[in-house]
């Protein structure tokens, strides 16, 4: 071990470690040796294990021993690229690396290049690149699409990919994988180093890191196990845990007490609305006026920087945060983590707990606060998972076609390409390894002329097949268009929230501070005078002026909570299974608080406990309706899709369903006819109702009409370049001028349903918005295992989902019903008179 260290690590480095009384860790040396042997490596290690330094060490060692450039020698290109999903992370890493580089006096330059880097600096970086460049996936795409990409990357040896587990599952990951494939073509010996938190199936990431061929190449893997076991407990409240809801209001006094007893407490929640709520509740009881701050992605950037700074200087006692603080950024001296609500995925929990006490050898201390009874079960399951070290990651999906379209155009912007060569290169990226040639050609055709059966656009093609067999861009303006639209992050349109003093009725003073940004869609659902919670304040909505939302302060009033699109994480498959297992086995209830155990015991007595791999379906009457409650435990998304499909089928079977509501754990459907009786008399068959074939025609038919598909289409249309992004500062053109993506969707669907962009849209919706994959797995799991229990009244287990009735948000599919309500209300007023 010691000899190996001596061989691999130059004297300067050994001295540096020794001066600090440290020694290099085994995985750092292991990585150094494998990279030295020319391998690409996936390093999996818990937070605080020196992962970042390990990743950079091979490059630092290389660069330290590189001879000084001779006078007059051409400037060297970038040696190592570091890519992180967060700009803030890149900035943080630079700070952390500059110290060892400075202290060892290494001749290594290290610079950031993100969307925030000023234009003049970017220009300079192209002429005189740093040795190590820290950047984001979007910037890499831009660099690759520039004409001098070949020269810029001519010295590139390594790419370090940080937080790889979180990068690979999204469209950003798809774009990045294509970028890496491009780099590998330019630099055949290129090595990659992936840094990742623990994942269940590392082989997916190992493949992702290297070029794919039939043999299924994989990067080496170094797995660091251990670290001290975190001390996690579940809050055992004296108070009564709620049946449903997400506020955890019952636990506020106990949480506040914990804050008082620790130096710095980090409070995590799952959504921005929960963050606002928790922050508000804490200040309501904050008698000691402890400095408690709020941090989430919608707040004004200046405000967030102030909170981060205050954290770094340890001048805060508590911070309420969402996933904006999730990834490996390490600030301040946090000694306690509170997770409010269920942690959803075990990986997420591990990451968040890792935030406290950022040294690997000391245990982290954390407490979970379930917001309702089902969450007690979920927290318990998550806790066991964390102790067992079992972690889940969402499966790596097939590469998206809209992302491929963007990449094809980017490739042409840099230099002419040959179809055959690009096809092979694209397939070397793991997400696209199974792409067939016909689909690839359709994507190229789409980029060229839109890919329509009607050849209307040939004259104006963006890229053209020239006589020498290469595809070239037809005009420099195409490259400009590409640069403005690069990237895969599509945000819902946001408006600035500006706080003004109300000047009496109707007139509102101009000016006042900007508090942050809120989705236009949420603001559209407000009428003037309505209140909501944002930036820790109760605000009254005054109106929308130009591109700003004008609000005034409304302290002391009850607030409607902001709704944010996409803020919810689904229960992971792994945790769902743990929860089912726990409910099914009374022997495991010992770990649960008494009130939850009593609840389950009561369920066993009044109805039956859902078995581990069964699906329990209860039917019962209530008021003048008949209810069916099913307990698949597969997350709200999958349940919503199931609800849509089941009600269609029940309608056909004459059961006259009226509505349904989905929770993370269960689904309730109500109808006019006695469902229990229909099942008993075999008028309607449960197994036929839950048959997998619902994912065929029924799904297709419903999906095509659904607003969800329109939403997915908009994203695909923007990413693929069919329509252009709205840029900040660019005035919103009138609604009558721009063609909305909804209208385009309708036209395309009626006239060319097989268009490549609709194919991409359906794939997106099935995976992300509807969780069809998960629903399919569930339906196949429960085949022949449906347990029906007909009851004369509601069961204890059904209470939480029944409480959700009436609280669910109405979806876009019900718009006509709302119009009818409004019109008919006026009508009945008129006739009453």
């Amino acid at each position: 071990m010691q000899a190996q260290t001596g061989d691999l690590l130059p004297q300067t480095f050994r001295d540096w470690f020794a001066e600090r009384g440290w020694s290099p860790r085994a995985h750092q040396i292991d990585l150094l040796s494998r990279v030295g042997a020319g391998r690409s490596v996936l390093l999996i290690a818990p937070t605080g294990a020196g992962k970042t330094l390990a990743g950079f060490m091979p490059s630092l060692v290389d660069l330290a021993s590189r001879p000084k450039p001779r006078p007059g020698e051409m400037a060297r290109g970038v040696h190592t690229l570091y890519i992180s999903p967060l700009k803030a992370l890149a900035v943080d890493i630079q700070r952390n690396l500059e110290r060892p580089i400075g202290e060892m006096g290494l001749p290594v330059s290290i610079e950031n290049r993100t969307g925030d880097t000023p234009q003049h600096k970017r220009q300079r970086q192209k002429l005189a690149p740093p040795d190590i460049m820290l950047t984001t996936p979007e910037q890499l795409a831009l660099l690759i699409a520039s004409k001098d990409a070949g020269r810029f990357f001519s010295d590139l040896r390594r790419v370090i990919l940080d937080e790889l587990h979180s990068l690979v599952t999204s469209k950003r990951g798809h774009l990045l994988s294509l970028g890496l494939a491009r780099l590998r073509t330019m630099r055949p010996g290129l090595q990659t180093i992936g840094l990742s938190a623990t994942v269940a199936e590392p082989d997916g990431l190992r493949k992702w890191l290297v070029g794919q061929d039939q043999a299924g190449q994989m990067a080496d893997i170094i797995q660091v196990v251990g670290g001290a076991k975190p001390e996690i407990t579940i809050l055992e409240s004296e108070e009564r845990v709620s049946w449903a809801g997400h506020s955890a209001r019952y636990a506020i006094p106990e949480i506040y007490d914990a804050i008082r007893r620790h130096r710095t407490t980090l409070l995590f929640v799952n959504t921005r609305s929960q963050a606002e709520l928790l922050f508000q509740e804490l200040w309501r009881v904050n008698e000691d006026c402890l400095p408690i701050a709020l941090h989430h992605g919608s707040l004004d950037a200046g405000q967030r920087r102030r909170v981060e700074k205050a954290m770094a200087t340890n001048s805060l006692r508590a911070i309420v945060a969402t996933s904006t603080l999730d990834l490996g950024i390490d600030w301040g001296d946090v000694d306690f983590v509170v997770h409010v609500g269920a942690p959803k995925g075990a990986s997420r929990l591990a990451q968040r707990i890792g935030r406290s006490n950022h040294r690997m050898d000391e245990p982290s201390r954390a407490i979970l606060v379930p917001a309702n009874r089902f969450e007690v079960l979920e927290c318990e399951a998550a806790l066991e998972a964390n102790y067992l070290g079992a972690q889940d990651t969402p499966p790596l999906g097939e590469g998206a076609l809209d992302v491929l379209a963007q990449h094809v155009l980017g490739t042409a912007c840099a230099a002419p390409f040959r179809g055959d060569e690009l096809y092979d290169e694209v397939r070397s990226a793991a997400p696209y390894a199974r792409l067939d040639r016909e689909t690839f050609d359709r994507v190229v055709d789409f980029v060229a002329t839109g890919g329509y059966a009607l050849r209307a656009y040939e004259r104006y093609a963006r890229i053209r097949l020239t006589a020498d067999g290469t595809w070239r861009i037809s005009h420099p303006r195409v490259a400009q268009q590409y640069r403005l639209n690069v990237g895969t992050i599509i945000e819902a349109p946001m408006l600035n929230v500006r706080l003004t003093r109300q000047r009496g009725k109707g007139t509102v003073a101009r000016g006042g501070p900007v508090l942050g940004k809120i989705e236009e869609g949420f603001l559209e659902s407000l009428s003037p005078g309505e209140t909501f919670l944002f930036s820790g304040k109760v605000l009254a909505f005054e109106g929308i002026r130009e591109n700003e939302c004008i609000v005034s302060s409304a302290p002391g009033r009850d607030a409607k909570v902001p709704y944010y699109a996409g803020g919810k994480f689904p229960l992971s498959t792994y945790l769902a299974e743990q929860v089912r297992a726990m409910v099914a086995e009374p022997a495991r209830w010992r770990a649960l608080p008494d009130q939850v155990t009593d609840w389950l015991r009561l369920q066993k007595e009044k109805s039956v406990l859902p078995g581990r791999s069964d699906l329990l379906v209860e039917t019962f009457p209530r008021a003048d309706r008949y209810y069916m409650v099913a307990y698949p435990f597969e997350g709200r998304l999958a349940h919503q899709t199931l609800g849509m499909l089941l009600t269609r089928r029940m309608e056909r079977a004459g059961a006259r369903p009226l509505g349904f509501v989905a929770s993370e754990y269960a689904l309730a459907v109500w109808s006019l006819r006695d469902l229990g009786r229909m099942f008993r008399t075999k008028e309607m068959s449960l197994s036929a109702l839950f048959d997998q074939d619902m994912l065929g025609d029924d799904l297709e038919a419903w999906l095509d009409e659904s607003y969800l598909l329109k939403r997915a289409f908009r994203n695909c249309a923007l990413i693929s370049g069919l329509i252009e992004k709205r840029h900040p500062g660019q005035e919103k053109t009138g609604r009558q001028v721009t063609v909305s993506s909804d209208l385009i969707y309708d036209v395309l669907r009626s006239h060319e349903p097989d268009h490549v962009l609709l194919q991409a849209t359906r794939a997106d919706a099935a995976a992300g918005l509807l969780d069809v994959r998960r629903l399919g797995e569930m339906l196949s799991r429960i085949k022949g295992r449906i347990v029906h229990k007909n009851l004369d009244r509601i069961s204890p287990l059904a209470v939480p989902v029944m409480l959700e009735i009436g609280k669910e948000r109405i979806t876009g599919d019900a718009d006509d019903a709302l119009l009818a309500e409004t019109a008919d209300e006026i009508f009945s007023e008129a006739t009453d008179r």
């Binding site: 002329t449 839109g450 329509y452 009607l454 209307a456 656009y457 004259r459 104006y460 963006r462 005009h475 303006r477 195409v478 268009q481 869609g521 559209e524 659902s525 407000l526 009428s527 929308i544 069919l722 329509i723 252009e724 009138g734 609604r735 009558q736 001028v737 721009t738 063609v739 909305s740 209208l743 385009i744 309708d746 036209v747 395309l748 009626s750 006239h751 060319e752 268009h755 948000r809 109405i810 876009g812 019900a814 718009d815 006509d816 709302l818 119009l819 009818a820 309500e821 409004t822 019109a823 006026i826 009508f827 008129a830």
Partner: protein, 239 residues
């Protein structure tokens, strides 16, 4: 006031029986207007070939909007078999639009025109007659007590039916915002919704509509999937 009361009650198959300046008209849920007495069908702002209009800037919208618009128009025509059709202007998205018509679409359009009077009212997008197509092109036309022109003129006599503004309306109910194209009317005059497959809408509360309708008399007849919904000014939301 009477006009409003009428509108709230009488529908035929989801369409609304209404009156403009005393002349009975049918406001159809597909966005067309039909006068049974005059055997007259009116559509506004077809914006044909809007999809292909961006081609020069390499914006490749699906080029099927014309086909879609004509299909819907064919539906309305076969339902009423009108003796006269008035297209209220902006029938083509730009002056060169008629020249870009795909041959199939052109033949379809010509077949719809056969056997009836066809009036192209000129609009700001298509000030000239569409080349190579039959029909007569005029700036405005009066039939019975109704006057048809592209842009509404503030302060004109009752009975004006215009287009141009693409009226739409929005309601907020149960925490959801619903936005739809609409007929905008105060019973004396009316502005038609845009009919083209790629046309958007402008809120009737926008300043562009200011001065056209008499005060609170405005109602928005919003186009739903199965019927036209009459929503009074007081239930409308801007934006």
């Amino acid at each position: 006031m009477n006009a409003k009361a009428d509108m709230s009650t009488d529908t035929r198959g989801g369409d609304l029986i209404s009156a403009v300046s005393g002349q009975e008209v049918l406001l159809c849920r597909d966005g067309t207007l039909y006068s049974p007495a005059l055997h007259l069908l009116v559509v506004s702002d077809l914006h044909l070939e809007k999809g292909t209009a961006g081609a020069r800037q390499r914006r490749f919208l699906p080029p099927y909007d014309t086909r879609q618009t004509l299909m819907r128009l064919a539906g309305a025509i076969s339902r009423f078999e009108p003796r006269m059709v008035i297209c209220l202007g902006d029938s083509f998205h730009d002056g060169k639009g008629s020249g870009r018509l795909d041959e199939t679409d052109r033949l379809h359009l010509v077949s719809l025109m056969a056997g009836r009077d066809w009036i192209w009212i000129s609009g700001n997008h298509d000030p000239d007659a569409p080349g190579s197509l039959p029909g007569s092109t005029v700036h405005e036309i009066s039939v019975g007590s109704l006057t048809f022109r592209h842009e509404p003129v503030i302060g004109t006599s009752p009975g004006e039916i215009a287009g141009h503004l693409h009226p739409g309306a929005r309601i907020v109910r149960r925490g959801r915002s619903v936005r739809r194209p609409c007929f905008a009317t105060d019973g004396e005059r009316l502005i038609m919704p845009a009919f083209g497959a790629y046309t958007g809408s402008l809120n009737v509360l926008d300043s562009a509509f200011r001065g056209i309708f008499g005060g609170e008399g405005l109602v928005a007849c919003m186009l739903g999937q199965d019927r036209v919904y009459v929503i009074p000014r007081t239930s409308l939301v801007s934006g």
